[in-house]
Subunit: 132 residues, 2 copies
């Protein structure tokens, strides 16, 4: 439950935080800051965009959400699914799909002598909807 998630990471529970986190988790669209803002406006007409940015920064820092970025797109997208996974970005419709792959390099701790902390990966192409 949303309130507990916030509590668990010692973030004070507020209307804005609960609803922003809820929105990011429940919608699977990997929304942008502006999409979150537009949604929040409908339930909280005076919310500030700065609050959206402050909130996603807190949520991200406490690992309640992840952020992702694609080449050629200038905005960050937010992801409520925090378990390691990859993405597929459709070059035609812009939809983002979660990709579950078990990659050999995923669990590696070192590569070429460098210590790995994070792995980022995504595919682009034409999604199955757009292929129809």
């Amino acid at each position: 439950m949303i309130t507990n998630k916030l509590k668990k990471v010692s973030l004070k529970s507020t209307f804005q935080r609960e609803n922003i986190l809820e929105y990011i988790i429940s919608r699977k669209e990997h929304p942008t800051a502006d999409m979150i803002y537009q949604y929040m406006l409908t339930i909280s007409p005076c919310i500030s965009k700065t609050t959206v940015y402050n909130t996603v920064k807190s949520l991200n820092k406490t690992n309640l959400i992840k952020s992702i970025k694609f080449l050629g797109k200038d905005e960050i997208r937010y992801d409520g699914t925090v378990d390691a996974h990859h993405h597929f970005l459709c070059e035609k419709c812009g939809r983002i799909y979660d990709i579950e792959i078990q990659c050999q390099h995923f669990k590696k701790e070192n590569i070429d002598g460098h210590k790995i902390n994070n792995v980022y990966a995504y595919f682009t192409g034409i999604c199955k909807e757009c292929k129809k």
Copy 2:
């Protein structure tokens, strides 16, 4: 040779294009637009930053270079090595290393029913220099 590379993709050979392409290929730093600009200033003091952006766009479109982008960094980096490979970004010093891995997913043409055109992947962590 640089001139031939340009010719091969039907880009007119100019002083700016030759030197920008040469710089990106020979330096292995994956330079930013501004790094390219700063270098070009030393050999062509009146070059415009717009020329740098125009040029990397042309070079990228004709596949003479690739561009890459990292989460949390706001600038695009340019890569003269166009064969498929991945990267390692050091969280401490910011250096970017090429990573040659033969990944099972690299050659795939489809995933979950989506047609794959491109694969992007990178690791972050502490590089072997910074570990010392």
